[in-house]
Symmetry: C2
Subunit: 288 residues, 2 copies
């Protein structure tokens, strides 16, 4: 049974089976004396980000960030304008980029290295603080191309309500995203109430360079971990040291993480976001 | 100025410059209105473990754990008794092991791969839960070879007091150890008050294997990251997303982490544990 004060949470959720399942699960694991009671320190919930917590169409927000940087590079160095991915960024050929991403979601990564190499070069050699400042500025100052609002306003209200509800019930929410960990960190507290140490995501290889005061950490033009598919449960374990009891995702890459959110002796809730609202958002199932 | 209630903390510390520096630093970063005030969410403190928070002589505690497992393997399979590191473990030839570790601290890793290969095989193929249960049982049930107490009682009282003092002052304490992350996690809360998600350390490569309910995460017989030297600041950043303002260590491998605990615009405190008490503990500086 949901507690009476639960009504103030999930205000924008329709009364339906998904909402009822969430309330019922939360009541079950948080009610002292319930056979499925889970102590607060073990209430770990993990959320994919792109397409789960915020909008990922017409392209992932981080891709827009990267394309703008690639376009600036091509502006400064004309020789890059003949090479992918700079050519696509410079000429705004979103078709090329869209098919690379679509192929990835269908398991074909044949063109991903071309895109990845450009992405890694785009921010190679800068400090983690400089990268974060660039991401922060971009996210605050850039409008979504079609929704008529800034990117920071592209988080889904019902999902933000779900995060707050879980937090109020003693859960620790984590972002377990295929997107870049260091791209999301500057805004995760403000947008989701998730502190930066709870952001898990893809990473670039980093190097520590000594020097006073304190040395610096620099991004290398090398991939580290693409946090997608079976890497998600491994990264969650490595960071948290616990198996989550709730996971939410929207795409094929989230399936291992969703499966992982149920232990042999523990209840678990797995949520799937389906995009079917062409009026207020987008309607798609590719890769999902 | 230290606040009056600080007196109840650090009870076993002598009145000396180290204690005064710690109290002064903590007062400076936690006093509202101080020019060096640091908001609570940015008060990150990182601690090496072996030789900093607990005893590492006559050998690191985890090495004893590994040797016992290797000896059991050699007991079961006689062919292993002729090969290192099983031979050393089976015959209790601590000389061979001691010099591998001593060489490492002097920058010579020529024999480390032999030891590492055995270590990785010792726990390859088991789930992270099984590994944790083995580590937990060992740490609770095993006596230190010379100090006449169980391993869980080998944490340094003054350092545990320091952890509690910092925690009371709004710091988040992390373990940033060259030792195994998954080895320390089962006892970090109980011994240090540090929750498992704040244990950073060396890791073995992990794999997620699907299957109901929830799949499983299995240790691969492959190294992942040795969290020592310049890897320490990188791992801290990756996990926390912040530069620490306090770091404590005792060996050469801690130098980059100690340097990292001072930002361009932030105060920082760096603590070095010197082992000079042969009566109650050990007296050594090799590798430090």
């Amino acid at each position: 049974m949901a507690a009476p004060d639960d009504a103030r949470h999930l205000a924008s959720w329709n009364d339906g089976p998904a909402t009822a399942s969430i309330r019922e699960f939360v009541a079950r694991v948080t009610t002292d004396g319930s056979p499925d009671f889970v102590p607060p320190e073990e209430r770990v919930a993990v959320f994919d980000n792109d397409g789960t917590l915020w909008c990922e169409k017409p392209m992932p927000i981080q891709l827009d960030f990267i394309l703008r940087r690639l376009a600036v590079m091509a502006e400064e160095d004309p020789s890059l304008r003949e090479r992918q991915p700079w050519q696509a960024a410079y000429t705004q050929d979103f078709g090329w980029l869209g098919q690379v991403v679509a192929k990835h979601y269908h398991g074909d990564d044949s063109e991903l290295p071309v895109l990845a190499a450009g992405v890694l070069q785009a921010f190679g050699g800068i400090t983690v603080e400089d990268f974060e400042a660039q991401a922060d500025t971009f996210l605050r100052d850039t409008q979504h191309p079609t929704l008529g609002r800034g990117y920071l306003a592209c988080a889904y209200t019902p999902m933000v309500e779900l995060l707050r509800y879980l937090e109020a019930k003693g859960f620790a929410n984590y972002i377990a995203s295929g997107g870049g960990r260091d791209f999301m960190r500057p805004i995760s507290q403000e947008v989701y109430g998730i502190p930066r140490q709870r952001v898990i995501g893809s990473s670039t290889a980093l190097d520590w360079e000594p020097g006073e005061p304190g040395g610096r950490i620099v991004r290398k033009p090398e991939a580290d971990v693409l946090d997608d598919g079976p890497a998600k449960p491994v990264r969650i374990w490595s960071r948290v040291g616990r198996r989550p009891i709730l996971a939410a995702g929207n795409s094929n890459g989230d399936i291992p993480m969703l499966q992982f959110a149920r232990g042999p002796s523990r209840p678990g809730l797995r949520l799937l976001v389906l995009h079917d609202d062409p009026e207020r958002e987008f309607d798609y199932t590719a890769g999902a």
